[in-house]
């Protein structure tokens, strides 16, 4: 199966190469980050995370290649990441330190995979990984588009929480940029009309049960329908990771602002494993207040999966069950953008402040100073993820080519 798939991609690519080659392009980015982190007292006391302060270094980059043909293209992206921290120390039989998972979120670069296409090494104070997280061939024919390979699936308006898209993590709470998760399979897009687009996905997945087990399938439909100038509806339905899922997004565009809502319902596992249904809701508001000041508010509910452990940071991480978030971005100078997001758990009072200030250094280079500050602990915390949240200050330097 794997061989057939790889051969198919290869043959199609070679055929295209033989056709009239239009252009090719190589692009990418490199980033270095350093952060100083202070541990959460609750993590030390209750979750065996016995460390106080730590330096964490992260280096990562993307190398993106693209070949454009007349009606098709071939694209690939190699993602490489090296991180250094004493918190990678193997403490077996004690549980591992979990903070590095947060610092390098999303730590999975492929959400649904059949092929590993990944090389990973590590020791007591570092991890290095190379992932081919995009490798696909795409061709257009009239009102259709067909994609085969490892692709990015990126839709949905949520920046902090985006429940209708299980194939890409929202990165609104992270200090990274230019990152997306790959998914292995096929995608057929049908542009039914100017107002209606339907995407069909057939994906394979070995991440759920491990590489030794059978391939799980994902059958997924995402549609978007523009009812009017102001109103757009997205719908999703399908089977993914052994659950049936149904949801949608409603977007209304006022002249001054945009409001949107998402819901996603997930049934119990379709096999006999222990599980329970999940239900997520998101409400959002987005407005450009002045030509330099942009605000985004998101409020939502993510039903806690009581069958998942702390390491489900891998899967869907939001350190609150109920949350309200306000994100501001202000351009103080063409060179300097100030960003601040405050996330509050309306049930426990847990409050988290994120600052990301970006300074353009010119020549395709920028610096970022970021901070992650849990400013209120909250009371009666039931969500262990809140106990894990560390206090971090860091700086990043990134360049694009």
């Amino acid at each position: 199966m794997k061989l057939v798939f790889v051969l198919f991609i290869l043959i199609q690519s070679l055929q295209c190469w033989a056709q009239s080659l239009v252009d090719g392009e190589i692009s990418g980015n490199l980033e270095a980050q350093s952060r100083h982190s202070w541990n959460n007292q609750a993590a030390k006391d209750e979750l065996m995370q016995d460390w106080d302060e730590e330096e964490f270094y992260l280096f990562y980059g993307n190398l993106n290649g693209k070949l454009n043909f007349k009606n098709s293209r071939f694209e690939t992206n190699l993602f490489a990441r090296h991180s250094q921290s004493d918190l990678y120390k193997d403490r077996y039989p004690s549980p591992p330190y979990l903070a590095p998972l947060l610092f390098s979120f999303p730590n999975k670069l492929v959400a649904r995979d059949v092929f590993k296409l990944k090389h990973e090494t590590g020791d007591d104070n570092s991890r290095t990984e190379y992932v081919l997280n995009k490798l696909y061939y795409e061709w257009d024919y009239d009102e259709h588009r067909f994609v085969a390979g490892r692709m990015y699936i990126n839709y949905g308006l949520g920046e902090i929480f985006n429940p209708i898209n299980p194939f890409n993590q929202p990165t609104g709470l992270t200090a990274i940029s230019q990152i997306a998760q790959g998914n292995d399979g096929l995608n057929f897009t049908f542009y039914a009309s100017e107002k209606h687009t339907i995407d069909y996905y057939f994906l394979g997945d070995k991440t759920l049960d491990g590489y030794e087990n059978q391939i799980q399938k994902t059958l997924w439909i995402h549609g978007e329908y523009q009812f009017s100038n102001e109103l757009q509806l997205d719908y999703v339905i399908g089977e993914d990771q052994n659950r049936l899922k149904l949801g949608g997004q409603f977007r209304y565009n006022f002249s001054e602002a945009m409001v949107f809502m998402q819901t996603l319902f997930q049934t119990d596992y379709t096999d006999d494993k222990e599980s329970h249904p999940l239900f997520d809701v998101l409400l959002g508001y987005d407005q450009q207040l002045t030509n330099k000041w942009h605000i985004r508010a998101e409020a939502g509910y993510q039903k806690k999966n009581r069958f998942s452990g702390l390491t489900s940071i891998n899967d869907r991480f939001l350190p609150t069950e109920y949350f309200i978030a306000l994100a501001n971005q202000y351009e103080i100078h063409p060179l300097l953008k100030l960003g601040g997001t405050i996330v509050n758990d309306i049930k426990t009072g847990f409050t988290y402040l994120i600052m990301r200030n970006t300074l353009d250094l010119g020549h395709n280079t920028e610096a970022e100073i970021f901070g992650y500050l849990p400013v209120a602990k909250g009371s009666g915390i039931e969500n262990d993820a809140q106990k894990l949240v560390t206090t971090d200050i860091g700086v990043a330097l990134r360049t694009f080519f």
């Binding site: 687009t197 207040l289 002045t290 063409p334």
Partner: protein, 247 residues
């Protein structure tokens, strides 16, 4: 004889003919010259402050007053970012992440890539001829040149950013040389200077646009139209989501 004809006392905008005393016609004429029915242009934008300068290159496609598609072609950081406008709806597309994002129409207000131009300017979302009512103000002389001055007041039902714009138009070619933008408090917020008129496919177009914000006179943004054509015949599906994501 030729010189006499073009002396300032005799200069009269022949292009408008009998409509030369109608302010609405002046605006319509300028818009038809500069926008046409559809156009493709290659633009260089330079944002300049006393100690910093940044240049972007953009391809801009416009069809009528409702459809626009812009693509950043340089620098590397933003290369490939596209913006599609259909009526008042806007979508940004980030090809490196394959992410299409619907943006609030209030984003038309937003500064475009840190410049002094807004999304509204770049995507040509508003129409001076259709969204404003026009009347002549007394002629004015600036740097020895006589200008026809037109006051443009936003119509009550139009969704535009600027309630009042004053146009200074050349009496020679009827094209604007200066736009002054006023906010709701009737404060002058920015001035757009237009210069270096060139002809593309029979359309006279100012190819140098300099936007000068009034609250920060050390800063300015210059647009240079490097290439422009009005003969582009866009396919019906050009301004579509499929084409937006085809990059």
């Amino acid at each position: 004889m030729f010189k006499i004809f073009f002396r300032k006392d005799f200069v009269f905008c022949l292009a408008l003919g009998a409509n030369a005393n109608n302010a609405q016609e002046w605006s319509k004429y300028a818009e038809n010259q500069m926008r046409g029915a559809h156009s493709h242009s290659e633009i260089e934008m330079t944002i300049k402050t006393p100690n910093w300068e940044r240049t972007l290159e953009i391809n801009s496609d416009v069809e009528g007053k409702k459809l626009a598609l812009s693509t950043i072609t340089s620098p590397a950081k933003e290369k490939g970012i596209r913006t599609l406008r259909i009526d008042n709806n806007m979508w940004n597309y980030f090809p490196k992440l394959k992410r299409k994002v619907a943006v609030s129409s209030s984003m038309l207000l937003a500064s475009w890539m840190g410049s002094d131009f807004t999304n509204d300017d770049v995507l040509k979302a508003s129409s001076m001829a259709e969204d404003y009512q026009h009347k002549f103000l007394p002629n004015q002389k600036k740097s020895g040149v006589d200008f026809r001055v037109i006051e443009n007041i936003a119509k009550s039902n139009s969704k535009v950013m600027w309630p009042k714009i004053i146009t200074y138009a050349s009496k020679v070619d009827c094209l604007p040389r200066e736009y002054q933008y006023y906010d709701k408090q009737d404060q002058l917020k920015r001035i757009l200077y237009l210069d270096d008129i060139k002809t593309f496919d029979g359309h006279k177009v100012p190819t140098k646009w300099v936007m000068q914000p009034q609250n920060d006179k050390d800063k300015k943004t210059t647009i240079i139209y490097k290439k422009m054509t009005f003969k582009t015949d866009f396919k019906a599906s050009y301004f579509s989501h499929k084409n937006l994501t085809d990059y």
